[in-house]
Subunit: 80 residues, 5 copies
């Protein structure tokens, strides 16, 4: 997984039908690259999150073939 | 997912039979790298788009094994 | 696989239910990038580890669809 | 997908049995990185090609588990 | 696939049970990054090899779910 900080939200009206309803957050990864991740947890700006990627992310959606290759799976409490 | 801006279109006459008919757009990602993505939404030059990658992209094609590892799944309205 | 050195542990209270109990370690890869990997072996700070990534990592969890895309599969003894 | 230019061919006599017969071409991607891709189309040196990667590439081989994670799926005509 | 040169071998005594017996070689890729790959071919130091990655690598192990995301599939004869 990778960790990063939420820096915003993406809206898309013109979208494929298969895209699940829910927040698409932009997350800045250490080093400066950015990923757009689906957020099932209700994370907010500035929150530090844990992201899983690839088919592993899509596999978390039950009963549908979601076109999601990046998913927030946790908010990070602290880091030692 | 990653976001980027459409900068052109690719044509390929000599191609594998399994490649679905449809537009193949070249998209510039933040940072300067480029990806060729299949576009089911009719996006145009300069449009900002959301792309899913890997087997997740191919999995969106029903009933065929499409050799597509990058798919446009939305056009971005705005970004906060 | 990639190799790296354990530099810390991540705690996440607000998390998806599908995330398995167990340690999530932060690992620094040669070159400076960082990965968060699930650790089934009880590795500690400073330990050098071997990590497998992607759907291969998730596939190691029997009977569940774990959202794990990075898994520690060994601690490195020595390197010639 | 990614685009690149064919710069040579790889020969491998000592190889796994599962590797399909056919050309393995070395392709230079924009930015300078290189990928070795299986070529079912008969592309030549200097030709610009479109490559799909990962399990999507392997999935194009019917009836066998080919160890191919990069496949040429088209030759590029032109680029606007 | 990617090509690289074998620069050493990894030993791991503390390892997951699912890790197959066999050599884990460290391979330096052009550009300087390093990958640890499973070697079914008996390659040695300095040998130039071809590596497949991701779930395609794991899929080459019959009847087991090997946690292998990088596999040597050939030794390179020459390169034109």
């Amino acid at each position: 997984m990778i960790r990063g900080r939420v820096i915003g939200r993406i809206w898309s009206t013109k979208r494929t039908d298969s895209l699940p309803q829910g927040a698409l957050l932009e997350v800045e990864i250490d080093g400066g690259s950015r990923v757009i991740a689906f957020d099932p947890l209700g994370c907010g700006d500035g929150e530090e999150v844990l992201i899983t990627q690839g088919s592993v992310a899509a596999g978390q959606f039950e009963g549908i073939k979601a076109p999601i290759d990046a998913l927030i799976i946790g908010s990070i409490d602290e880091h030692t």
